[in-house]
């Protein structure tokens, strides 16, 4: 075998390079996002609950926002009667973000993790952080 040593060394370096991202990535990146509900509005709530159950919100909030938007803008109906009978003004800025006033620590935490970039904030005004 010609230059056997060099080839083997080359192979080791090659494999090492290819595997580097996996080795250095171990334990990183998979950390589940942990959205914070530590806001003044939520702190003031006796029973800390969202518009619907947490599991529903987690998986359905994007659809819910679409439905709210269409109901308000297209059908002229502004009130949402939730599963528990509570009524909410269907507004992204004036309802969701009044409770979740920590967008960076809440919405963005998950969205960065899943790579979602809702374009809503090009128009809708995000709450002033730290408030």
């Amino acid at each position: 075998m010609y230059n056997g040593g060099k080839i083997i060394l080359g192979l080791i370096v090659f494999i090492g390079l290819m595997a580097a991202p996996f080795i250095f990535g171990l334990g990183k990146g998979n950390a589940k996002p942990n959205p914070s509900i530590d806001t003044p509005a939520i702190k003031a709530m006796e029973k800390k609950q969202c518009v619907e159950a947490k599991a529903v919100m987690k998986t359905e909030h994007m659809k819910m926002l679409n439905d709210w938007r269409d109901s308000v803008v297209r059908d002229g109906k502004r009130l949402y009667v939730a599963t528990d009978g509570k009524k909410y003004d269907m507004s992204l800025q004036n309802t969701c973000m009044k409770c979740h006033s920590n967008k960076a620590q809440f919405c963005d935490k998950c969205h960065i993790y899943v790579g979602a970039k809702p374009y809503c904030w090009d128009c809708h005004i995000a709450p002033k952080e730290g408030a």
Partner: protein, 268 residues
Amino acid sequence: MKIERREFLKLAGLSAIFGLGGTAIAASVQQTPSYIPDPKELTGKRWALVINMDKFKTDADVKRVIEVCHTKHNVPNIPNPKQEVKWIFTEMMENVFPEQQDKYLTEHYKHMPFLTLCNHCANPPCVRVCPTQATFKRKSDGIVMMDMHRCIGCRFCMAGCPYGARSLNWIDPRPYLDPKKINPEFPTRMKGVVEKCTLCYELIAVGKIPACAEASNGAIVFGDLEDPKSEVRKVLAETYTIRRKPELGTRPSVYYVIGGMKDAGKGA
């Protein structure tokens, strides 16, 4: 164990009743979410405005009305007239009522700025040409609405509107908003969408009248054209009013009272 056919049916019936009752009980606790209008909502079949130009005594009166609307809706103040965005604005008489031009018209009217805005036409050309139904006419009350979420910025509506009531956001509007006056309860818009007056549908929905009428000290009257007892109908019955370019058949819902006309403004 062997069950007779009869026994089986009895059991099945019982469990069916129980099952149904069970879901009914569950339903009384857990209802499916629903969407309802605010009980305070104003209802009308065709909202209209009567603008009494005689009651706008000074430029300041006009400016105040524009300012209130534009602040409320985060309408940017872009100095370049080719890029400006406006919901309610002024135009010279010759542009608002070109067919009324007459060289013998009093100087006063020739140089008077007229307040103009979306006419919320009964037969709106903008709606007909919109390819995405981003602009549409509300069946319930005739407001010509804008759904900013659907607008693709094609500007067909701007070509269709004979009144120049629509503006495209040529640039990002946010740098042109006064940070001290921004209304955090209302969205802004973004580059590439068309916007215009929506007759304050968001205020009507909670029982308030449009902001321009509210701020006008009685110079703008708001009401339901189809209700014979409404304030706008009272003014229309008592006063001679005109609409913009009626010959086009768009049937505007914005009426003007112009001074010098007999009895002008008495009812307003």
